[in-house]
């Protein structure tokens, strides 16, 4: 039998994963809901955020700062993570706004095929551009010292403080986003833009500025997620793509355009994936050889969220909270 603390820990890990997926999915679903745009390059904005954070932390921490990235082997004193986090928001929002103004604008009237192609090409440009600037090696970004260590939780579980803060921060962002969309003037315009873009342009809303703002907002959320997750994993080229595809799964499950759907879908995907990786090998171990059980369990666990998606799709083609597909 598995200890309850292990299960509780994995549930929290799943929750943390899900909350971060929400930050990615929220931007995607907003951009699709308002502008009707499918943006494959959303993962690149996640990567931009992570790299901006790592570069700023390195720059503020080291007096040996000579180039865009610290020399390998030199252990730099930790810089300011908070400045890095601010930089990640700013860089991703700026990159998003730039991309929106120069490219995306031309794509709103085009079909999804053109959108897929241009944003796919953008991934090549972003990934190769980052590799050009920072080199091919991953950067390491440490969690801020003030958030290191673990916190004792009831039930005898010591859980990393940083991950708890991520969960709290993610939920806070989710709450803020709901407030923004449902209570503010910008949110009102966003919702109006979702239902009838010609009409809100006709009544004098600057639709171009609105689109740029929405895109930059989504980009900033992605960049934030990149910086926060980059300090648990590593900061490398291509880090955004697996997350992007998971965000797609989240959106398909939750229903395109629905922020509530994105939140529910993200947590569902995060917890299902994490728990599957824990429980499936254990489940198979009850009737298979240990080595076979580990292999079968791991392979099935890696497919689990897609099977979940297939299941939901079968019963609700429009997703849990979506309009009819």
């Amino acid at each position: 039998m598995m200890p309850a603390t292990l299960i509780a820990e994995q549930v929290l890990n799943g929750l943390q994963f899900g909350v971060m997926l929400f930050l990615m999915s929220a931007g995607l679903t907003l951009v699709f809901g308002v502008m009707g745009l499918i943006n494959l390059a959303h993962g690149s904005l996640y990567m931009v955020g992570a790299f901006a954070c790592a570069a700023v932390v390195a720059a503020t921490g080291s007096s040996y700062w000579v180039g865009p990235f610290p020399s390998p082997g030199v252990v730099a004193p930790p810089g300011s993570f908070w400045l890095g986090l601010a930089a990640s928001l700013a860089a991703a929002a700026a990159a998003g706004a730039l991309v929106e103004v120069t490219l995306m604008r031309r794509l709103y009237q085009r079909g999804h095929l053109d959108q897929v192609l241009v944003t796919f090409a953008l991934i090549l440009v972003f990934s190769e551009g980052i590799r050009w600037i920072f080199g091919a090696f991953p950067l390491y970004l440490d969690i801020p010292p003030s958030l290191g260590g673990t916190v004792p939780l009831p039930g005898g579980l010591d859980y990393p403080l940083y991950r708890l803060v991520i969960i709290a921060a993610g939920l806070a962002v989710a709450a803020g986003l709901f407030q923004l969309v449902s209570r503010t003037r910008l949110g009102m315009r966003i919702r109006a833009g979702e239902s009838d873009r010609e009409m809100i342009a006709a009544i004098g809303v600057n639709i171009r500025a609105l689109y740029t703002a929405v895109f930059a907002l989504g980009a900033a959320l992605a960049g934030f997620a990149g910086a926060v997750i980059g300090s648990i994993t590593s900061v490398e080229v291509g880090m955004g793509e697996p997350v992007l595809i998971l965000a797609f799964v989240v959106i398909v499950i939750g229903g395109i355009g629905s922020i509530k759907g994105a939140l529910v879908g993200a947590i569902l995907v995060g917890v299902t994936d994490t728990m599957g990786r824990l429980l499936l090998p254990a489940l198979f171990a009850t009737f298979l050889e240990p080595a076979d059980a580990a292999a079968t369990g791991a392979s099935l666990a890696s497919m689990l969220i897609y099977l979940l998606m297939a299941l939901i799709l079968f019963f609700r083609p429009g997703g849990l909270f979506g309009k009819v597909a």
Partner: protein, 326 residues
């Protein structure tokens, strides 16, 4: 230039490069042309759903990879002498290309049937994301399944055999691939001109009308999707024979994107378009790749420019009209 001349030019170019490779004794040119023919064939598969049927599948790496793994696994078992399956029926490996092709086609078709049944219930952005997600599922499966090399992939040491030909000879293998490509394109040309092909184009243009005359849109789409998966799987099997190696990277979503790029660069709904697109892509990869490590950066910019300004691709550009109606 008319479309026919553009197609002829593509075929002649595809034949001329390996010929030049033989004359100049530069066998890598032959390999390059073989690669173009195989990648182009994968594009021909996608073109059937994307160009003619208007279904934007971003998951064709799944069929390419499954075809590849069929070739890899059967050849692996033939070499090792272990059966693929001992139970419920004994099933051995094989190094016969014909058998491998057939199995790849069947597996590709079955997978496309399964994925198509689910994903074709949706349209638009959902369809794009779902095809991508299912392809990713199979990618992760191959990465985490250790029996056939997992992430490291599976080498096959000899090319598979075909009726006593020396398949390790680059020119012989190129001609096999070229013949397969011609057969595939011939069949596709018959399909798109058939009643079924007309219905497929009609479903793309106006599904409601097609339904109102009593043709089921879902069925037409599904059949096209299955054919498309089968063709792309065949290309995958050939690709593994070319490289004598199969790995999950064939299934990565970059592969799906690249297959789509071949179709777009060449011009959608043109029979030979994907071959022209694959040729241009491989050419750029070679030329830009020899100049800079960051060739993908420039390919990305170029692709953006093509999509924004040169719709219709190479074939559309050279033959001077849009390809909306074949």
């Amino acid at each position: 230039m008319t479309a026919r001349i553009a197609s002829t030019a593509v075929v002649l170019l595809l034949l001329a490069v390996p010929l030049a490779g033989t004359v100049l004794d530069e066998p890598w040119l032959i390999t390059l042309a073989t690669r173009v023919a195989i990648l182009g064939m994968a594009g021909v598969g996608l073109n059937l759903v994307l160009g003619y049927g208007g279904m934007v599948s971003l998951g064709h790496a799944a069929y390419f990879g499954v075809g590849g793994y069929v070739a890899g696994i059967l050849a692996h078992h033939a070499l090792e002498g272990h059966p693929v399956l001992a139970w419920p029926i004994a099933l051995g490996g094989t190094d016969s290309m014909i058998v491998i092709w057939l199995v790849a086609i069947v597996c590709g078709a079955l997978l496309a049937l399964l994925i198509g049944c689910l994903s074709l219930r949706t349209t638009g952005v959902y369809f794009i994301m779902i095809t991508l997600a299912f392809a990713q599922m199979i990618y992760y499966f191959t990465v985490s399944w250790p029996a056939y090399g997992g992430e490291d992939g599976l080498p096959i040491y000899l090319r598979n055999s075909l009726v006593g030909l020396d398949t390790m000879d680059p020119m012989t293998f190129f001609l096999i691939v070229f013949a397969a490509l011609v057969v595939v394109i011939f069949l596709v040309s018959r399909v798109v001109r058939s009643r079924f092909g007309l219905a497929l184009t009609a479903v793309r243009q106006n599904e409601a009308r097609v339904r109102s005359v009593g043709i089921g849109g879902f069925r037409i789409r599904l059949v096209a999707f299955v054919m498309s998966g089968a063709i792309t799987a065949l290309a995958g099997a050939l690709f593994v024979d070319l490289n004598r190696f199969v790995s999950p990277s064939m299934l990565s979503w970059h592969t799906s994107g690249e297959i789509m790029v071949f179709v777009i660069l060449g011009g959608v709904a043109r029979l030979w378009g994907p071959i022209a697109g694959a040729a241009l892509y491989v050419f750029l990869e070679q030329v830009l790749g020899s100049m800079t490590d960051h060739w993908q950066f420039w390919v990305g910019l170029l692709l953006i420019a093509v999509v924004l300004h040169a719709r219709g691709g190479i074939m559309g550009f050279t033959s001077g009209r849009r390809s909306d109606d074949g």
